[in-house]
Amino acid sequence: MKKRLALGMGGLAAFAMVASGCAGGSTSTESSAAAASAPAASAAASAPAEAPVCGGSIAVMAPLTGGAASIGQEQLNFAKLAVDDFNAANSSTYALVESDTQLDAGQASTQSTSIVSDSAIIGVVGPAGSQEVSAVGPAFSEAGLGFVSASATNPDLTNGDNPTFFRVVPTDAVQGPTDAEFIAGTIGAKKVVVIEEKTDYGTGIAKSVADALTAAGVANEVIAVPEDKKSYDDVVSKVGDDVDVVFVTFQVAAKSEQVAQSLVKSGKKAVVFGSDGSFSGDFKTGGSYVSAFAPDIKGIPAAADVAQRFSDAYGEFGTFGPPVYVATQSILQAAQRACAAGASDRAGVLAELKNTNIAGSILGGDIAFDAMGDVNGAKFYIFKLDESGAPQLVQ
């Protein structure tokens, strides 16, 4: 009996160790290619005529566990794919270092300390959230470490306080007016309710949209909700029968679907319009709208191969993953250029990041940064969900 109990406890403990391995807050290393923590560059001494084999570590800061783990895992997997593709194409040995931020500024700050102290890390993909970028910005600036976010959209992040920060997505200052113009003009809404999720992302986009709606003469009311809210029936009850559009600012598309279904069952005429955080197969109520910082990449010829291979390897994806592929590419290309120039340290990579120019990216255009670190010429696209829930590009 005792032996069986011991075996059972042992099995449970072993499984717990395996399971908890994916939940840790500390930095763990995962090699996507052959080498794990290769030096920045090493030329084969015996073959001076050959090109140097470039490599180095790139940290990925994402919410790998916690409430936004679905976003973080998608981002991590796109980063893995980018590194694998790049190493295969360039015979390089770049590797990823995973850093779990749990979409929490405090956790991101803690993680930034260990990233800065790891001299093998020459660039950072992420963090995902604007509040996290604010938290890690000072440490990365001091360390001269370039970091590229694929989803932090608060306009204030590129005001000069974070000189080593770049992003591959347009800001809320672009999204808000684009969405508001469409709601006022194309949909012809007279009254709008904005559901503001109380996060840096939700607050920023809600303010941007509400301001633009007011400027366009559309009556609007902002209802703030906590991030951990589970049911939205009580919020939908506050939506009047004369409201035409409910604009939602969630980062998890399933919540937008909850609101849309709640409107359907309450018999209200309002349609849901989701910000880019809602661009996912989980948001599928026909007649709804959603904006995104790229057209559906499955429809972009340059992205079709990447989208297919990602789906084959990791399953379906939403809007948060593909920009990570591009963010990772920008660091890898900068590192490769720095390596070729013989300056493959953090300073070299940072200097080359400013010269980023990815022609025909999977996001549907060229990627280059302006002097403040924002991506040049980025715009938002708007989709209407058809009866099957599939997004159809309408602007």
Binding site: L12, K230, V235, K238, E257, G267
Partner: protein
């Protein structure tokens, strides 16, 4: 007035889910004076069991069996799976610590909670799953009284919660197993001397409480749609709060606490601001406990002198 009624219905429905979770907490605490802090994770696993059963039966839009049968099977699998998981947790994580200090099983429960969250992440992935109830239940049907609409899933949650509470009350007060549970709750040594198998009684307690958590998980999925590995954290906290508010150890108290918590949240959301809902709900909880430390329907502990 209709708006008030609408928010009242919203509160009662969410309260039903809280109440079902609270029943599990209160049953285990009532028998063992032990807080099973992993109860929220059993609720989460129940929601996943229900979701995967639905998928195995063809999914929400193409069920291989009639919808009522599919829902019935989802409940059976979730409750059965939850019960088995609860028994396993009791056997390996709690029983070895039964005679240790009160803190040890509490820490073990926290460990089980984290273990189950991460096991779900590992086994099911990080992607949020949706029940898509609207694809197999006409959410516009049900009862309408003016603006107030009660859809079939809302009716199912409230009626189901009341039936399960009644069944649990009858089981505890009218059956041989219930008598054994009450005896173990009063004095485990005396129960043994009277021929009661304490281990067996405790196993049944965990099985029933965890089965209720599984049922609550499916109800939550049908009502709210999203299912993810962290859904049990906050729901567990709400269920625990409902149990404490109503008087932990009291079955009607758990129901009352759940409904009160749900209604308070809905009314605060409706008339004040959704961001104040938790603040005011927990403020009320604190005030109630200051005035009546054992909760609304809790009985004062009798200490042997």
């Amino acid at each position: 007035m209709e708006y008030f009624g609408e928010q009242l219905v919203n509160g009662v429905v969410m309260g039903g889910v809280y109440a079902l979770i609270a029943l599990g907490y209160t049953l285990i605490y009532g028998v063992l004076q032990f807080l099973n802090l992993a109860h929220g994770e059993l609720y989460m696993m129940g929601a996943f069991f229900g979701f995967f059963t639905m998928t195995a039966l063809g999914g929400p839009s193409a069920s291989a069996v009639p919808v009522a049968v599919m829902i019935g099977i989802m409940f059976i699998v979730a409750m059965g799976g939850g019960a088995l998981l609860g028994v396993a947790v009791e056997r390996f994580a709690y029983r070895p610590l039964r005679n240790s200090s009160r803190l040890a099983p509490l820490i073990s429960a926290l460990g089980v909670s984290l273990f189950l969250q991460n096991a779900a992440l590992l086994l099911f992935g990080a992607r949020v799953r949706l029940y898509d109830t609207g694809q197999f239940i006409d959410l516009r049907s049900g009862i309408s009284i003016g603006r107030i609409r009660i859809d079939p899933t809302e009716m199912m949650v409230v009626i189901g919660a009341l039936l399960l509470m009644a069944g649990l009350w009858l089981m505890v007060n009218r059956t041989r197993l219930g008598r054994a549970m009450r005896a173990v709750a009063v004095d485990q040594d005396a129960a043994v001397m009277n021929g009661i198998d304490v281990d067996r009684t405790v196993v049944w307690t965990f099985a029933i409480a965890s089965g209720l958590a599984g049922a609550a998980g499916v109800m939550s999925g049908l009502l709210l749609y999203p299912v993810d590995q962290y859904m049990g954290v906050f729901a567990g906290l709400k269920g625990f709060s409902a149990a404490v508010l109503g008087g932990i150890g009291s079955i009607p108290g758990a129901m009352l606490g759940g409904f009160l918590l749900g209604i308070t949240e809905a009314l605060v959301t409706g008339y004040l601001n959704p961001t104040y809902a938790d603040f005011i709900a927990f403020l009320i909880l604190i005030l109630v406990l200051l005035i009546r430390p054992r909760g609304i329907l809790g009985r004062p502990a009798i200490a042997k002198v």
